[in-house]
Symmetry: C2
Subunit: 204 residues, 2 copies
């Protein structure tokens, strides 16, 4: 067993709470005092465990990647019906657009904020996780092509990047309070993009 006094807090719970705060208000607008109040951690406990505010932010981003990003990858890979999997990915964009505790996207926050000054920039985490999702998305599309669900000449990287970029757009537009119909139209466009390449279902 571990030697010293046992921690009073659940680490993942702390990270989830911190991630929610950073997602809602942005890194700069969340103070360490806010973090302590919301997570229940004493100040020194926070610094002892996470080093500093940026350290907690980085770990919160990582936790978010594991709990919000990776499951999407898993869902893409798990579904035997590759095209249906991608469609499912598109359909759940609405979640990123909402304002509630489940809404919004921390990676969009992190990327919009940027911070390329430091070598260990926090948005590097967001970038890395997004790159993995991008890869998985392309792989699933390739699988759909292989299964004959999408046309053989489908530009797989092009479609994958278009969908992913659209997903980020949905997060911004939703967060910005633009009309909900914009989100619906974006989702519809994502699905239509897939339909366009679906074999044997061409339009016109």
């Amino acid at each position: 067993m571990s030697r010293g006094r046992p921690p009073k807090f659940d680490e993942n719970q702390v990270l989830d709470t911190a991630a929610a705060l950073f997602k809602r208000d942005g890194y700069d607008a969340v103070s360490v005092a806010d973090l302590c109040r919301e997570t229940g951690l004493a100040m020194q406990s926070l610094y002892h465990r996470f080093g500093d505010k940026a350290g907690l932010y980085r770990e919160a981003l990582d936790r978010y990647g594991r709990t919000a990003n990776d499951p999407q990858i898993t869902a893409l890979e798990a579904d035997d019906d590759a095209l249906a999997a991608v469609r499912g990915f598109v359909r759940q964009w609405k979640r990123h657009a909402g304002a509630g505790p489940d809404g919004g996207c921390l990676f969009t926050q992190a990327m919009a904020r940027g911070d390329r000054t430091q070598p260990e920039a926090p948005d590097a985490t967001a970038r890395a996780y997004t790159a993995r999702l991008r890869k998985a998305l392309a792989a699933t599309l390739r699988r759909a092509v292989g299964a004959g669900q999408l046309a053989a000449d489908t530009d797989v990287p092009g479609v994958a990047d278009a969908l992913l970029t659209l997903a980020f757009g949905v997060a911004v537009v939703g967060r910005g309070g633009m009309p909900a119909s914009m989100i619906d139209h974006a989702v519809a466009a994502g699905l239509a993009l897939l339909d366009r390449h679906a074999s044997g279902a061409g339009r016109g």
Copy 2:
């Protein structure tokens, strides 16, 4: 003529500088001292003219809307070739993705940051200008339909919103430092979306 001592600074120049700072670093990361140093304004001059930091931010957003958003609307409306105008709109997304002083998008920053607590929230300005662009984009697409450039059954609001959402996504993805090929693919997807509805040019 105005009565008192004449201002030493050019107002628009100050707003442009402020907008560039806010765009690059975000509202919270820019201090009033930064703003004074970069704009050359004395602290008291800044507060005398703009009230407070938020006031300067709001006016900078407005200035950005006039100098970066509205010209896009004008370009859409001015071009007799409606479809070409929309294509031009899509092609210049790359600019929003860049990192230099011309790169990035202040409205994306403002929307991602959010701030729906206040009634006169700063992102309301971004929302209002974006709404105008959205309207103009739809109008131009409708014009293209009327001119027979796009199919009569084109879902105009759907296409407009898809393009605009994609544009926001490009800004985030570019700012986040994702591969440049993502931007290229997003632009290509925007153009392909138009091609898909172009009359007499169906694929497959």
